[in-house]
């Protein structure tokens, strides 16, 4: 375990932000990733008293506090009704229940991890992150930024009419994914979000209009083939680049067919 000089339970976001301006300070999410790093830490800042551990649902969308755990995402009836279970599907194999009771949405998105199931699924939805200083930033833009000394306060998901489908390939349940793949059709726009390439998840839109006429066996195959060409992959100890590219094709095709099926029984919302 890394040595820690000081532990502070922040009484306000302003206090947390000020403390976090020191280079050696860190905001605590679930601490699961933070703990694995090297070197001593200065002040660790706990946000547990700031009421950021709830998911609020309105007609328009969801407001998810940074301290909400992955287990809360998995079990939230509203989020899972909106995503047709894709949210639970995305997190259910992340280590175990005890782990998901600790790991937070804030830490997961702040980390912008290449392997992240969480980032992959949130990119498939209309998601905005709320930063204490930086205000509201679309997640797609935030995911490309370098971490700074701001604080992620909440995550907002609009209930844009849509259908979602989440899949990940793992060599073994509870291991890091070899590839993550979230497909969605949000307000008529198709998105394929592919992560664990092993680089950070990227969003692919149907620029070529391959799915403009809807999902058929042929259009799904054409889109899956095109996606495999567009998404850069590399090898690491979990799989080669060529294997990952093959998975992009297979998971995209499978996911599109399932999207189409969901859309038929539940006409695109």
């Amino acid at each position: 375990m890394r040595s820690i000089q000081k532990y502070v339970r922040a009484e306000s976001l302003e206090q947390a932000y000020q403390l976090n301006q020191n280079r050696r300070s860190r905001v605590l999410g679930g601490m699961l990733w933070l703990k694995m790093g090297r070197g001593p830490l200065g002040t660790v800042i706990d946000l547990q008293d700031l009421g950021l551990d709830t998911i609020e649902e309105t007609e328009e969308g969801f407001s998810i506090g940074a301290m909400v755990t992955l287990r809360q995402l998995e079990q939230h009836p509203g989020l899972n009704a909106y995503t047709r279970g894709a949210m639970a599907q995305a997190v259910k194999d992340i280590v175990g229940v005890q782990f998901r009771n600790l790991a937070t949405v804030g830490g997961s998105l702040w980390g912008r991890f290449g392997f992240s199931d969480v980032l992959t699924q949130f990119l498939a939805m209309d998601t905005t992150v709320e930063l204490y200083q930086g205000g509201l930033v679309p997640l797609e833009e935030f995911a490309c930024r370098k971490p700074d000394r701001d604080i992620l306060v909440r995550v907002h998901v609009e209930k844009t009419p849509g259908v979602f489908r989440y899949q990940a390939m793992r060599n073994q349940r509870t291991d890091f994914p070899v590839l993550t793949c979230a497909l969605s059709r949000v307000s008529g726009e198709y998105r394929a979000v592919i992560g664990a390439r092993p680089g950070r998840a990227m969003v692919l839109r149907d620029r070529e209009g391959l799915l403009a006429g809807g999902i058929t066996e042929d259009s799904a195959k054409a889109f899956a083939r095109w996606a495999a060409e567009q998404i850069p992959t590399q090898g690491n100890l979990r799989g080669s680049g060529a294997y990952r590219t093959h998975l992009v094709k297979v998971l995209t095709l499978r996911g599109l067919k399932e999207l189409e099926e969901t859309g038929r029984t539940d006409p695109w919302n």
Binding site: M1, G96, N101
Partner: protein, 151 residues
């Protein structure tokens, strides 16, 4: 710094460093059922209940437990005794090292889902690794316990 929490129904106070992990504090308090396996949040051996929810005590700062309720196997002997014998009867415990974590998480499972299916049992216990058994014995043991309750 000073730490006050409720441990197995008792209010306890202790002195900790800011970086003390919950597992170390609990062991200092005599709760030696809480064991260290991987220390990388992967194996589930260090499972305790915090405010009723199973968490990995190797990955929680003791300071974060201030004002919370923590339960370890020492405080849940009766609840554990109900099903632990069924697991032993299946020969699921070999070296037995994983057992405290399995038992703690099984308690959490049965509180949350009193009549779990086999798939729900597998999913809930997926974060508890066992090097010896292949997991079938534990599953059979829990199933035998659930069946015995119906009789």
């Amino acid at each position: 710094m000073e730490l006050k929490l409720n441990l197995n129904g008792r209010n306890v106070t202790g002195h900790i460093d800011p970086g003390t992990l919950l597992i170390d504090f609990l062991r200092q308090q005599g709760c030696v059922s809480v064991k260290r396996g991987c220390e990388t949040a992967n194996c589930g051996l260090c499972t305790v209940l915090m405010d009723g929810r199973p968490v990995l005590s190797c990955s929680v700062l003791a300071a974060r437990a201030e004002g919370h309720r923590v339960e370890t196997l020492e405080g849940l002997q009766q609840e554990a005794a109900d099903f632990a014998g069924f697991i032993a009867d299946q020969g699921a415990d070999q070296c037995g090292f994983c057992n405290p974590g399995f038992v703690m998480n099984t308690i959490a499972l049965l509180r949350e889902i009193p009549e779990p299916t086999d798939d729900q049992i597998r999913a809930y216990l997926a974060g508890n690794l066992c090097r010896c058994s292949g997991y079938d014995g534990q599953l059979r043991g829990i199933r035998a316990y659930l069946d015995s309750r119906k009789k």
